[in-house]
Symmetry: C2
Subunit: 289 residues, 2 copies
């Protein structure tokens, strides 16, 4: 059993912190910007809530953050009341936010400067994966620190990999989002065409899904796409945030991402259609508008 602080109880963080307590059996202290959510977490799971990230992190062996973006992340880590102001030497900061590789490297250095360690550890698997504790966790950092941290992360994960030095977890998550962008747009165009052609989409997917066109997205989204149902899943707003990070990083490393950039624009159009909170599969709604 370890002492853990968890900062950020959003749709992902709330259940992840729950697994660290219930499944991992750890002593968990939580902090959330909106205090009411921290209180309801404590009511549900036990443990304690703290008044600031720094307070939550005091005495913790492992400090988790899962917030919205780079700025939120800097505020709860290196900000005046951030976790690094409270962490003891030898503690590990693990960031589950999908953020830039740049901020990951920055926090790695900031942690080291205080005698602490850092692992960037963005996740995939969505809300359902968080709730069921079966996330995929893509880590960047030092191998020895990773080996020490991995058994703790296991409480909410099905697959945990060390991808390279600090930032490599974030870069891997970016590859994931790039692949999804083109894939979902292709699937949306396929279903759109099939409907226009008068085909029975269920029958079409049954026949083609085991072959070269098959994908997780096809198997898990074709039904809801065919029904025009998008009020669930990974929201367009979050995908646009991730693609912003992706396209900035690609500017730096020189990768050409023509379809990813185009699909990012398409998601902008979905937002204007009222789809900010729709699932990413709502690219089809844009084709049908």
């Amino acid at each position: 059993m370890a002492k853990i602080a968890f900062i950020g109880l959003g749709v992902m963080g709330y259940p992840m912190a729950g697994h660290l307590k219930a499944k991992g059996g750890h002593d968990v202290t939580v902090y959330n910007r909106t205090a009411a959510k921290a209180e309801s977490w404590v009511k549900q799971h036990g443990g304690r809530s703290a008044a600031t990230p720094a307070d939550a992190a005091r005495d913790a062996d492992f400090v988790f953050t899962c917030v919205g973006n780079d700025d939120d992340l800097r505020s709860v880590t290196i900000g005046p009341d951030g976790v690094l102001a409270g962490m003891k030497a030898g503690a590990v900061l693990i960031d589950n936010t999908t953020a830039s590789a740049e901020v990951a490297r920055e926090l790695y250095e900031a942690a080291k400067a205080r005698g602490c360690d850092f692992i960037d550890a963005p996740v995939s698997g969505g809300q359902a994966g968080a709730e069921n504790g079966v996330l995929t966790v893509m880590c960047g950092g030092d191998e020895a620190v990773f080996e020490r941290t991995r058994p703790v992360i296991d409480a909410y994960a099905r697959m945990v990999g060390l991808m390279g030095p600090a930032g490599a977890g974030q870069l891997t998550k970016m590859v994931n989002q790039i692949c999804i962008a083109g894939l979902v747009q292709g699937l949306a165009e396929g279903i759109h065409f099939g409907k226009k052609a008068g085909l029975d989409i269920e029958k079409v997917i049954e026949v083609i899904s085991k072959g070269a066109a098959g994908s997780w997205q096809m198997e898990n989204r074709y039904k809801t796409m065919n029904q025009g149902k998008y009020d669930f899943g990974f929201a367009v707003d979050w995908m646009r945030k991730d693609l912003d990070i992706v396209l900035s990083e690609a500017r730096r490393n020189g990768a050409a991402l023509p379809v990813t950039a185009l699909v990012d624009q398409f998601y902008g159009e979905v937002q204007k259609l009222g789809g900010k909170r729709w699932d990413t599969s709502s690219l089809l709604a844009r084709l049908e508008k």
Copy 2:
């Protein structure tokens, strides 16, 4: 055992005709534009070769065609020496070519006018699927004719579905190719970005391939893409032919296919890079050029 004619012994037709003979146990007569290939097929499998499609089709219960495009298909079916000139009443013409839905409807009518039947039956699964007799076959036509024909098709198929009336098989194949175009481009951009970011691609794919970014293409192509190996698989020239059919049909039915159209252009660039015969996964080569 039925009497069968098979027209077109290309990389797909050659092994498909072989399965009809060896696995189906049918009496197979073949025709190929380049006669030497028909002779070598007969040497390998037995059966007979004919001088024209019409001659091959005479007395046959089922006549298969598997040629290059709409024009080739018209030539071997409704042309002066085409199969319809030789077919007996009640025989079924099955077309395995990936062709337009328009020519499928045209051949359906032409067959009916002669007391024959027609099924459009394009396949997916590539050369390996044809050689192993495990193709997916997407059929269009009348249900009673389909039920009569299906046991014969089974000799080279793992999955056979009736998708709707004449042309529906072709339209389903189009959905398949649309999904693949966006999917492969997304995968190519993901791998390209990952390489530029200095990631270990094998490790990245191991971690992300079971989740929301996963696909048949990712599992079956990431290794060769990472090695820049493209001298195998479904050729860019054939994919461009298929996308030409797709984009023409979309003009008619009003479907919007922005990424499919863009990826078609990208394949045009791959052709100019010398990649006419490269696998469709060579979209990555274009990003790296």
